[in-house]
Structure formats: C-alpha cells, structure tokens
C-alpha cells in the first residue's frame, strides 16, 4: 500500500517522520523546485541589499519544507534545490554546497521530533526557529569549511569569506520568513479544513 498516512490525535500526519511515501516524494520535488526557482528568480530581478547581507529569501524553502514535512524532505529540498538553482543559472555543480544545503534542511526537519509538523503554538514556532538556526550554522559551516580542503583556504579566509556572510544572510532571511510561512501555512490548512 503506497499510502503512509493516517488520522491520529495529532492530525493528518505521517506514521513516522522518517517515512518516505508519495506525499514526501511530491513535497521533496516541490521543495527543490521552489528553492531552485526562487533562487533563480531573485538573481534575475536583482533584489536590493543592505551592506554585506544579500536578500536571498529562497533559503526559507528548505527550512520550511523540513519543519513541516520532515527531515528527508528538508534534506532533499536543500540539496537538490541548490543543485537545481546552480544548474539553471549555468554555474555547474559544486557538491559541497549541495551537501551543506541538504544538511541545513535535514537539521531544520528534526524540529518535527518535537512538534510533529504542527505549528499552531508560539512554542512550536520557536522550536522550528531554533532547529533552523542550528541547521544554517551546521550546513553553511560544512560548505564553508570544506573549502579549506577543496580550495586550500585558511580557516580565517573560509570564516570571513564564506561562513560569516553566507550564514549571516541565511540566518536573517530564514528566521524572519520562516514564522511568516508557518503561520500562513496554518491559515491555509484551517481554510481547507485540515487544521
């Protein structure tokens, strides 16, 4: 049987946050496409930025998909979404950044262990924010510091050149937009009678 969901006292949820059924596959693909697509769109329309922090709102996609649909969906949305964004832009394939973004989505998805994908309370939204912040630091940290080995950078250069601008920008973008998306998602679920 392909269906992996059932009505529980926690609502319409997967039987396990680790399950990969039809629902997860579709959301993995959708998350990756949204991440790649939004990265491409925001590159094309040249969003204004302040200081060194570029406006890269797309980072919220793997965080949101991870937090709502589980760690595997977050992992896939981040990794394949980043690959897709680079692919469409013609930049090629840079595996360490794909893996870093996958880690970011995966760790954000671990919030489901505490929240079960329900973000109807402030407490659960804060939990999602904490996991998202940890995910960004670990994921971007992985990508940045593997450059020490791959591009022979020094630790200071990898920190100042990659980690601080990328993680700083992603933290600001992700942590502002994630609660907005979670609240909007709750409202949409309630409107459709799934709340």
């Amino acid at each position: 049987m392909a269906v992996t969901e059932k009505n529980t006292d926690r609502g319409l949820l997967s039987t396990s946050i680790w399950a990969v059924g039809v629902r997860q596959i579709v959301y993995m693909a959708l998350g990756a496409a949204l991440y790649g697509g939004l990265s491409w769109v925001t590159n094309v329309i040249q969003l204004p930025s302040a200081g060194n922090v570029s406006l890269r709102p797309a980072i919220v996609i793997p965080l949101f998909f991870g937090a709502v649909f589980g760690p595997w969906v977050g992992l896939f949305s981040g990794g394949i979404g980043n690959l897709l964004g680079d692919y469409v832009s013609g930049y090629g394939v840079f595996w360490n950044w794909d893996v870093g973004n996958a880690l970011l989505g995966f760790i954000a998805g671990l919030a489901m262990l505490r929240t079960w994908g329900r973000y109807t309370s402030t407490r659960n939204i804060i939990i999602a924010e904490i996991f998202a912040a940890v995910g960004i630091i670990v994921g971007i940290g992985f990508s940045s510091y593997t450059e020490i080995w791959l591009s022979k950078l020094t630790f200071v250069s990898a920190t100042i050149g990659y980690f601080l601008p990328a993680a700083g920008s992603d933290l600001i973008n992700g942590l502002i937009l994630l609660p907005i998306l979670l609240i909007a998602y709750n409202a949409a679920r309630a409107r459709l009678g799934r709340g």
């Binding site: 392909a2 990756a32 090629g92 591009s151 998306l181």
Partner: protein, 303 residues
C-alpha cells in the same frame, strides 16, 4: 520571466557522454586536486580540463555571463585569502624557509588580545606560486562543472542519479523537481506581476534589512503556500495510480558506451592513484613519491 535551462542541444563528444561519466569525472578530479598543491600536477589538470571543455564546443556568447561571475568570484576568493592569511602558504605543503621577494606593511590576526595588529604582507616565490596554483585548481574545476548544465539534457538527470545507485523514489523526485521548475517560476512571475499591480515595489524595498526581508513575504508566501496546497491533487493522482507499489521503469534509459566506461575508469583510477601517491608521500620524504607534498617550484625561479 520564463525559465530556460542552459542546456544547448549539439552533437559534440561531451554532449554524447553519459551524465554519470561527467559527474564522476568532476568528483574524481575535485577530490584528487584537493590532495595536492603541486603546480605541475594542477597545471596538467587545468590543461586537461580546458581540453575537455573545448570538446563541448560552447561559444563565448553562450557562457559569458557565467564565466564573468566565476572569474570575479575566484579572483576575490584567492586575493582575499592571500591578504587575510598574510601571504601564508596553506598547511600540508612541505617547504623550507620562504624566498621573500618583498613585503608590505599590513594588518594581520594575532594569537593574543587584541587579536589584530600590524603584520607584514609577504610576497615570496612560494606564496605567489601557491596563489597561482589555487587559481588554476579553481578554474580547472569550473571548466568541468560549467560544462555539465550546458551539455546535459535535464530530463536525463533523474535517470543518471538512478543509475548511480539512488533509489527509485529519490531519483523520481529529482526528475519531478526538474519538471516542476518551469511551473514554479511561472507562478513566481504571475505573483510578482499581481503584487506589482497592487503597488508592491520589489526593486525599491524600503526600510532596514529586517524590514526589506519581511516585505518580501507578499512574493514568497502566495507561491509557496499555493504550491503546497496544489500539490495535494498531484499526491492524490499518484496514489490513485499506485505509485511506488511496483518496480519503476524509466522512459529514458541511459546506456554507457565504451567511451563512457573509459572516462569513468580513468576518473576513478586517477583519484585512487593520486590518493595512493599522497599516502606514499607521507612515508618517503624526498623524490617523486613526495612530489604531491611539495609545490614543485623549479630551482631557477628561486632567488
């Protein structure tokens, strides 16, 4: 604003290669190049990568934007690394005292408080060679990486990952992501136009950084939530067709040719050879077996 994949349909040796061979070449070369800072080995890799790229027959006008971006990014990284490290050569390279050509007064990081202070910026034969090696390594990887999106049909990517051992479910999700992409970018475009018609000026967002990001919500939220809600229909349709119950077949079936198998074998063998050479270099402290641990600077260049 319609999304276009950069793939350019041509009949060249690189276009005809199996995507798996291209990915393995990139990974094999990247991992091998990361193990050495010997200028001659990296130079050989760069020449090989340029030859490979030239076989794709990509025109400058087709890849200009990407090359400008990659060149600026690489130069910024290399130059900033030089300045931030005070011209130091990365650890792991076996070298004696540096042959200093000149040094400039500069600032550098210190191990004790206040952690930053005056320090000379050294320009030595070794540090300049190291900077050149770094640039060549990054560009050689870029030659292999940039060729992939321009020479690989996006509809082959899912099948390629399946062929590299990924499960049917994940490989299909990759295939589906490539199919969703044009729809998603069209939705972004429609939403952006609709919001602009309501007076939303994305090019002139007001406020500080936090305000600007919060004001992006009218563009991001409708597309994401609309897509998530709309995906329910796709899920229902796939479940009704019993997706995932049996073994999946693929419309595109990749078959390796002799040339693909040679390239895959060379990629794996090259990586293993460099790794073995690198390990051997830790036991032999001079001669050819120790070459990967040196910069390979010829004696006539040393003052």
């Amino acid at each position: 604003m319609l999304i276009n994949f950069p793939y350019i349909q041509r009949d060249t040796p690189i276009h005809r290669l199996d995507p798996r061979a291209k990915f393995l070449l990139l990974l094999g070369y990247g991992f091998a190049a990361a193990q050495t800072s010997n200028i001659w080995i990296i130079l050989a890799g760069l020449i090989g990568a340029i030859w490979y790229y030239s076989q794709a027959h990509l025109k400058w006008v087709e890849t200009k934007r990407v090359w400008i971006f990659i060149t600026i990014l690489n130069l910024m990284i290399i130059i900033s690394n030089y300045f931030l490290s005070g011209g130091a050569v990365v650890k792991g390279v076996d070298m004696g005292p540096q042959h200093i050509l000149f040094s400039l007064p500069f600032i550098g990081f210190k191990p004790t408080s206040p952690y930053i202070g005056p320090a000379p910026l050294i320009f030595s034969v070794e540090s300049i060679t190291f900077m050149l090696t770094q640039a060549m390594r990054n560009f050689s990887i870029a030659f292999l990486a940039i060729a992939i999106p321009y020479t690989t049909d996006p509809s082959h990517i899912g099948a390629a990952f399946k062929g590299m051992g990924l499960s049917d479910k994940f490989a299909y999700a990759i295939d589906l992501a490539f199919r969703f992409l044009p729809t998603v970018s069209r939705d972004f475009s429609t939403t952006l136009d609709a919001q602009r018609a309501r007076g939303f000026e994305i090019d002139k967002l007001r406020g500080g950084i936090f305000g600007k990001i919060a004001r992006l919500a009218p563009m991001v939220v409708p597309v994401v939530i609309g897509s998530v809600v709309g995906a329910e229909d796709i899920i229902s349709a796939m479940e009704l067709r019993c997706f995932g119950v049996g073994k999946r077949t693929w419309l595109v079936e990749l078959r390796t040719t002799r040339r693909d198998r040679i390239l895959i074998t060379l990629s794996i063998a090259g990586f293993l050879l460099i790794t073995a050479w690198n390990i051997a270099g830790n036991y032999y402290h001079s001669g050819l077996l120790h070459a990967l641990q040196t910069q390979g600077i010829p004696n006539f260049l040393l003052p």
